[in-house]
């Protein structure tokens, strides 16, 4: 940890909605009544079973209630130990699980207003992502427009597994709105479970479910690039969060090879997928699915072909590392500084703008 750099920007922390009651004050009368009348439960996704080891690091887990639901603890456990100057809140409440588009908007608005009031207003180091009802692109754009003026929202948040691959044109109005407002698009681990998490059906074990996020991220990189999202929106930055990153080089080798053979199918992709990825795609640091040795890790970082791709993250309160070992062995001090400070600043234009 000696190479921790002051002013670190943590690009993936997870404040948790403690319970559904906490959101009620932020809902419209109609949705508040609906929740009460219909006896709707909290929107907790099976992507993070409440007591699963990944969901909460043992020493970050409160005796009662949800890990990540207490600001004071978050300051003490996530911000202070890593010298964090800014941390981006990705609230993983299960809005994406809903089938009703209107209900999804109702919940998304509540989550966003809750995070602004309960977290951003109380801790100036925090920034947040706009939760959008991806179930309906028009409503998603509406929610972005509603919040865009608040510069503390730095990106749009969607799960890596939804109804359709994210490059598809039906989603483009959302990406257009993000680009227009200088918001990044953050694709985070987790599924809306419209499909099995693997391309070959539903898994037996949670371990497989969680592991499969990496393959889902690979598929989304393929989709975004092949559909031409970055040809259409060259200024859009896509941040893959809690994605793992060690799969990226091999995936780009394969994708670039197939692009050479099949580019006639996607003529708008006018550069190699590897070049496009280096320009427009970033990945958060944790989890590090890395090799056991520092030497191999250094080789792997060379395979990345760029020192600008990784963004510091603790993934608080998820259990990805122990103690303060957030940086993998084999990272040079120079690269650590880029990951912790420079790369996040260059990714999120809103971080360098004055917050009013």
């Amino acid at each position: 940890m000696s190479i921790i750099h002051p002013g670190a920007i943590d690009c993936d922390i997870h404040p948790a909605v403690p319970n559904l009651q906490a959101l009620l004050p932020y809902m419209t009368d109609y949705w508040r009544d609906t929740v009460v009348q219909r006896g709707i439960d909290a929107l907790e996704s099976i992507s993070y079973p409440v007591n699963a080891p990944i969901t909460a690091r043992p020493d970050w887990k409160p005796e009662k209630g949800r890990a990540g639901s207490d600001l004071e603890r978050l300051r003490r456990e996530a911000l202070i130990p890593f010298g964090t100057s800014t941390a981006i809140c990705n609230c993983l409440y299960g809005v994406h699980l809903l089938f009703s588009e209107d209900m999804a908007l109702g919940y998304a608005q509540a989550v966003n207003d809750w995070i602004a009031k309960e977290w951003l207003d109380r801790e100036p180091k925090l920034r947040a992502s706009i939760v959008v009802p991806l179930q309906n692109p028009e409503l998603a754009v509406e929610e972005i427009e509603r919040l865009a003026a608040d510069k503390r929202f730095v990106q749009v948040l969607v799960p890596v597994m939804g109804e359709m691959p994210l490059g598809k044109r039906i989603y483009w109005p959302i990406w257009a709105a993000a680009e227009r407002h200088g918001l990044a698009l953050c694709i985070h681990a987790g599924s809306s479970y419209r499909h099995s998490v693997t391309g070959i059906g539903w898994t037996s074990y949670y371990t497989e479910d969680y592991a499969s996020n990496a393959q889902a991220f690979q598929a989304q990189v393929t989709s975004l690039i092949c559909e031409g999202v970055f040809s259409k929106f060259p200024n859009l930055k896509v941040v893959l969060a809690e994605s793992g990153f060690t799969w990226l080089p091999a995936h780009l080798w394969r994708l670039t090879k197939f692009w050479r053979g099949l580019r006639m199918e996607i003529p708008w992709v006018d550069r190699t997928p590897a070049e496009i990825a280096r320009e427009n795609i970033r990945l958060t640091l944790q989890p590090v699915d890395g090799p056991p040795s520092a030497g191999a890790f250094e080789r792997l970082m060379e395979h990345m072909q760029s020192d600008e791709l990784l963004l510091f993250s603790t993934d608080y309160p998820h259990w990805q590392f122990d103690g303060d070992e957030v940086l993998p062995p084999g990272l040079s001090s120079e690269l650590a500084r880029k990951i912790m400070v420079d790369n996040p600043r260059n990714t999120y234009s809103r971080l360098t703008e004055t917050v009013t």
């Binding site: 597994m161 070959i200 969680y210």
Partner: protein, 371 residues
């Protein structure tokens, strides 16, 4: 991999490779189903085929769900001069591929073997016919070629029966499944296949392809053929994850699995991820006794085509080092368009011993042909 056909309009013979080659992925086709498959198919199923066709879990009656980049996904120069589909003429295959590339062992992987037909009785009958056909038209005529036991893999018991029928038959080298199964391929409905294969001493090859009915990504159906193609690597990663986490290597310790045409460079990252998750949550899979990476290192092989091509070629050496030089099996995918030529497949120079392993010896070992 190239589609630049204009500059090479004439069928060209490959340059002789200097060393012996085992090609672990060759795709044979019948000249015509009526002529070559019917002799092994009961009249009832011939009529069924003519009346209802081959119904699987995709909507197209005749073509693939995603139109390929080339007719029949094949090299333009692989059409036999006497007619028929690419890969349907043994003599032409010898002249164009086996002889000039010094292929001393070729593994036949029939992709339209009826493996995943919805009607399981039909699937069983058709697979059996395809297995008989491989002997009659290929392996009995060409000793360099070995067949794959194709099985109706969505039914474990029927598949085991076919594997048992072929056990001990030197015409066959392995059992062949397709990667896009109806459920994760390590799940217990498929265990009879692994049990029978391990018992018979056949490796189980899982070739990229097939239609299991699931959207091919966890986020639905992609738009383009290139996405479907690239996506085979993701499907195979989740398939291998399933095999490891379900514990099939613990349950069937003699089992060997060969992943075919799904890439290989993704393996180290996947193994590191699975090890880490297993250590975090080992109470969920107490049937596992070792790290996922250890099962993989001991039980899994991968064919090389299509070779991943890093911008800095030497990077691939790190990756192969992490996987193990003894785990890769060279393959060309003849007669398909993304054929890897043995003269150019390895992007960097490696010493002669490793070349022999890579192109030949690993295959002999995994198939037990080195004894």
């Amino acid at each position: 991999m190239s589609v630049d056909v204009l500059e090479r309009p004439v069928a060209k013979k490959a340059q002789p490779a200097k060393i012996a080659v085992a090609d672990c992925d060759i795709h044979p086709s019948p000249k015509s189903v009526e002529k070559e498959i019917y002799p092994f198919l009961e009249k009832r199923w011939q009529r069924h085929l003519e009346t209802y066709g081959m119904i699987g879990r995709q909507g197209q009656q005749f073509g693939p769900a995603y139109p390929k980049g080339q007719p029949d996904a094949s090299r333009r120069d692989a059409y036999p001069p006497n007619g028929g589909r690419p890969g349907s003429d043994l003599q032409f295959m010898r002249e164009q591929h086996l002889d000039p590339n010094n292929v001393q062992l070729g593994i036949l992987n029939p992709l339209r073997g009826g493996q995943a037909l919805q009607n399981l009785d039909f699937a069983e009958a058709y697979c059996r016919a395809v297995n008989d056909w491989q002997i009659a038209e290929w392996t009995s005529k060409e000793p360099r070629l070995k067949a794959s036991v194709v099985v109706p893999y969505e039914d474990g018991a029927l598949s085991a029966r076919e594997i048992e029928r072929r056990a001990g038959d030197p015409n066959f080298a392995q059992v062949l499944l397709l990667s896009r199964t109806g459920e994760p391929i390590g799940q217990r409905r498929y265990w009879p296949i692994y049990e029978a294969a391990a018992e018979a001493g056949f490796p189980v090859a899982v070739h990229a392809f097939g239609y299991g009915g699931n959207a091919v990504t966890g986020s639905g159906w992609p738009t383009y053929y290139i996405e479907e193609m690239v996506g085979h690597a993701q499907c195979s990663q989740t398939g291998l994850t399933s095999m490891v986490m379900e514990g099939i290597f613990e349950r069937f310790p003699k089992l060997k699995v060969i992943l075919v045409e799904a890439g290989f460079a993704w393996l180290p990252s996947l193994a590191w991820r699975l090890d880490k998750l297993y250590m975090r949550m080992r109470d969920e899979t107490p049937h596992l006794k070792r790290l996922p990476s250890e099962y993989i290192r001991e039980h899994v092989w991968l064919t090389t085509q299509p070779m991943e091509e890093p911008e800095v070629r030497e990077h691939l050496l790190d990756t192969i080092e992490w996987i193990g030089w003894d785990r890769l099996l060279f393959a060309t995918d003849y007669p398909h368009w993304d054929f890897d030529d043995p003269a150019y497949a390895l992007p960097v120079r490696v010493d002669a011993a490793r070349r022999r392993q890579f192109f030949f010896e690993n295959a002999l070992k995994v198939y037990g042909l080195d004894k």
